[in-house]
């Protein structure tokens, strides 16, 4: 029987680690003050962004950059719109 693996999702990157490596990665993330969601049964965890960092970025009023796909999978970044006024609209089908 193979050793149990542990999947870590970190900023969109998925890494499959050994059980011990996974536990160490979680400990590191927690020491860095990152929010961590764990599912021991599924052997998976998600490492999020700390509130402090996100709050500081927003409070600087420098609009955080992001890159997202359109319907055709083509990627667009906010930073491509520098020099133009941008109305940013978040909506949903729900």
């Amino acid at each position: 029987m193979s050793e149990r693996t542990f999947t870590i999702i970190d900023d969109g990157r998925v890494a499959v680690l050994g059980a011990r490596e996974g536990a160490e990665a979680l400990k590191r993330a927690e020491a860095e003050g990152r929010p961590v969601a764990v599912d021991p049964e599924e052997g998976a965890a998600y490492l999020g962004a700390p509130a402090r960092a996100r709050a500081a970025a927003l409070a600087s009023l420098e609009a955080p950059d992001f890159t997202l796909p359109d319907l055709d999978g083509r990627l667009h970044s906010l930073s491509e719109h520098r020099g133009k006024k941008v109305l940013l609209v978040a909506y949903a089908s729900w």
Binding site: D39, A44, G48, L58, L71, S79, V86, L87, V89, A90
Partner: protein
């Protein structure tokens, strides 16, 4: 203009985008990347970003039309007039100190909720729908004001985001004295 659909899949947003045929980038955010960066907790949420990439109007609630005005109580005209004045350079920008005062910044629980969402979203995509539902529920407990999580995950939990479960959620939220939409106080 950049529009971002905070939805579980591109196909959920596709009918609206194909009907609108927008000239602007019309993007899909299945992992709540935008919600995480901008502390977005409901839709619609709008922001104004100036030529230098500075936030000049923080998260606000605005509609493009009056389609839902009878439900939301928010008319489109106010924001549209302010937006036109800003774009044409007719109105002075909101002072930075005021923009900061109007911002809502994420708390530790907001970010813990987003981590729970992120794990749930990954599990859902792996076909682990029951495990995913546990983390979506936990995320909603951590951030009960975050409807991108509580309502937005309903389609991944076999619930109708326009149906009875949503009406009950919204009813309980209102009964506890909380607003569902939080437009900027101006």
């Amino acid at each position: 203009m950049i529009t971002v659909a905070i939805d579980k899949s591109a196909d959920d947003a596709r009918p609206w985008i194909e009907a609108a045929r927008p000239a602007h980038p019309s993007l899909i955010d299945t992992t709540h990347t935008l919600a995480d960066r901008y502390n977005i907790v409901n839709v619609p949420t709008i922001l104004w970003i100036d030529e230098r990439g500075r936030i000049v109007r923080p998260n606000d609630v605005a509609f493009g039309t009056d389609t839902f005005k009878s439900i939301t109580g928010i008319a489109a005209a106010g924001h549209l007039a302010a937006l036109r004045a800003w774009v044409r350079g007719e109105a002075a920008a909101i002072p930075e100190a005021r923009v900061r005062a109007l911002q809502t910044l994420p708390t530790d629980d907001d970010q813990r909720a987003r981590a729970e969402f992120g794990l749930g979203e990954w599990l859902f995509r792996e076909g682990r729908t029951q495990a995913a539902a546990r983390h979506f529920a936990r995320a909603g407990e951590l951030a009960p004001h975050d409807f991108t999580i509580r309502r937005g995950t309903m389609p991944m939990r076999g619930m109708d985001p326009m149906g009875q479960e949503f009406r009950e959620m919204r009813g309980a939220w209102a009964k506890a004295g909380n607003p569902y939409y939080r437009p900027l106080a101006e």
